[in-house]
Amino acid sequence: MLDTFITSFKLKNTYRVNSVIYSIKQLPIIRKILKDSLYKNKALKIIGNIISILMEIGSIFLGKLLYIFFCITSMLPVFKLESANTFIHIFLFLTIIGGIMNTYMFNPTKDKYYAMIIMNMDAKKYTISNYIYAMIKTFIGFMPFTIIFGLLSKIPLYICIIMPIFVVMVKMIFSAYVLIDYKKTKIAKNENKLEKFTWIVIFILLLLAYGLPYIGIVINQTFFLICFIISLILGILSIKIINSFDKYKQIYKQILTNENVYATENAKSNQTIKENASKQIELDKSFTSNKHGFAYFHELFVKRHSKILTKAVKKQSMVIIGIFAILTTIVLKNKDIAKRVNDLLLIYLPYFVFVMYMLNRGTTVTQAMFMNCDHSMLTYRIYRTPKVILGVFKERLKTLILINLIPAILIGAGLTLLLYISGGTVESLNYIILFVSIIAMSIFFSVHYLVMYYLLQPYNVNTEMKSSTYSVVQGLTYFVCYFFIGEKLPTFYFGLATIIFSIVYSLVSLILVYKKAPKTFKLRV
């Protein structure tokens, strides 16, 4: 058993180290310097190993720290109840949810896939040894934080210490339950694809965890101790069930399908994207177009993707109208708030850079363009002639700008209206600047996303992301927009600067597209 564990651990470590090296290699400048042979490089292997160990330690502690802090400790002041009991209350119910959603055993991960499906390791030995390891990790990972945050909330030390044991027991009970269920139904449960009923149970538990304290009800320590003793008894029974179960191979054959494994690995994996992408196509082919050439092609694309294009924007617009309606009512009714809103409107325009960034559909739309359209069209050389590329680009730019303009106009108009009814401004140009700058931001983001897509088209024919430059640019965009959140600048000057910047940026980037896109817009090899 120990041998199996060591082998599987080494295997996991090896690919983790390799993926660390791979990520290092994806960075734009470093890629040029480093060669393929670097997977053999000793120094890099050592760095990779260190990072891998840090990741392992991080996986033990970090999640639990964040979990206890954000889900429990930071929530305590909300309820204004006795903190020890509230802590235990939330902890108890969240632990049960964790038991259902986070079994470790039924999570289809890549390491299990490699070990049991590809390397054909003994499923039972692999599962049990790794399960023991996972449970030890859970126990050790929780201990420091239940003690620290528990004591801070004035929970007796012995309860702080049994809390991690409770977590482990609950997890084992649920794993055993799933195994028993499998014996009956022959259906293996994938913890990432829970049934509707399970989701309802989870929702109810969440309500119990936070809803009860909200209305002033929490469990006491005796109740927790009773739960603990029950969990201890059932947990020990579960160990027997887990240990004697012998159909792990069959279970994992069901759970560890390609699709599942890659879906959990990251949401961006090509399988998932491809599937999601094709789900976005609306089957109704009664949509037709009377246009010609590129316009025809593009119009059909837009009509058959209305779910992510027009419908999403409609939803956004409804929400925006709702928010402004509420704000307008408040401002009209309350003079104090009106004054504050008026002040904010004249200095908080930078915040809207982030809002406009978040609202912009550019990322989703360009991704759909690639997955459902260009991914296949770019394999046709004729589609890559400058005339076609630029023709389609023009149609797309029009659509993307228009789509994003709808919420932008609503926000611009809403803000201008708010400024007026909250007391107005001496400088009447402010109204125009406020409105136009919001529009300018929206156009800027639309142009930005589409231009980046045409200049850096990052995917290959298998829809794998091949350009890290693209990710870096996207990250930077986010970072810059995020940076504006806290900034307070006079709306007049900031707005003016935004308008000028947007115009210049759009012009420059459009020229760039016209010059470069016929070369850059192709499938990565």
Partner: protein
């Protein structure tokens, strides 16, 4: 070889490749490719796994930048290859799934309007690749692999590009579809330079007029001196094995 005159008295078009090189980091995948492909013939490009067949196609399709050398079309005179001169059919068919077969075809006909010589109706094109009437107005999302393959082939030949690169185009088709496709290639070959990459020797021998081998980064033509099939096969295998 040069100034060859074909039956109609026109000079025969050629794809000329000179000293083409492509490396991936230190690995020289294509070392020194020199070849002339002529119109009217189907060339079977054989090579072992990883020999660089797809890399060669990607270079010719300008998906990859060259590390040396050049290639061009020699017609009346030498000229650079434009995107519309090349049709590249991948082994896995890629068609935009949000369109119906007919819409896809319509779009291609419209953007190629000026280049298509004797334009036919969409139904005539569908008949040509034998796609059933009831399938023509379905979204291609619901097409079978073979139908997608046919659509891909169809739009690639519709504008009649001078050069057709076919990367393992038949491997995933059923036997009937394979035969249909083979017949299609034979029907259109007189107007094109067709380069057909495959692992399957029988297919190459059956369909292709010339056998070209890519080994060790170099292209060589295997002469068939009217030998019997078996000894020709052996000759090819020997050439592929050469270290």
């Amino acid at each position: 070889m040069y100034n060859e005159i074909d039956v109609k008295g026109e000079k025969n078009m050629k794809l000329v490749i000179k000293h083409l090189k492509k490396n991936f980091e230190k690995k020289e995948v294509l070392k020194d490719i020199n070849f002339e492909f002529e119109k009217g013939k189907i060339y079977g490009l054989l090579g072992r796994n990883g020999a660089g067949k797809t890399t060669l196609f990607n270079c010719l399709n300008e998906d990859l930048d060259l590390d040396g050398g050049e290639f061009y079309i020699n017609d009346e005179s030498d000229r650079n290859i434009k995107p519309e001169d090349i049709g590249y059919v991948l082994s896995t068919p890629n068609v935009p799934e949000f369109l119906t077969g007919r819409e896809f075809l319509k779009f291609f006909i419209e953007i190629n309007e000026k280049r298509i010589k004797n334009k036919k109706t969409t139904d005539e094109y569908f008949d040509f690749v034998q796609i059933e009437k009831e399938d023509r107005d379905k979204l291609m999302k619901d097409y079978s692999h073979g139908m997608k393959n046919k659509m891909q082939m169809l739009v690639n030949i519709i504008a009649s590009p001078d050069i057709l690169l076919l990367d393992e185009p038949l491997t995933s088709l059923d036997v009937v579809a394979q035969e249909e496709m083979k017949q299609l290639f034979k029907d259109i070959k007189k107007d094109h330079i067709i380069i057909f990459s495959t692992h399957i020797m029988e297919l190459a021998l059956d369909l292709c007029d010339e056998i070209v081998i890519l080994n060790k980064g170099v292209l060589t033509e295997i002469e068939n001196d009217k030998e019997d099939t078996q000894s020709f096969k052996n000759k090819i295998i020997e050439a592929l094995k050469e270290e």
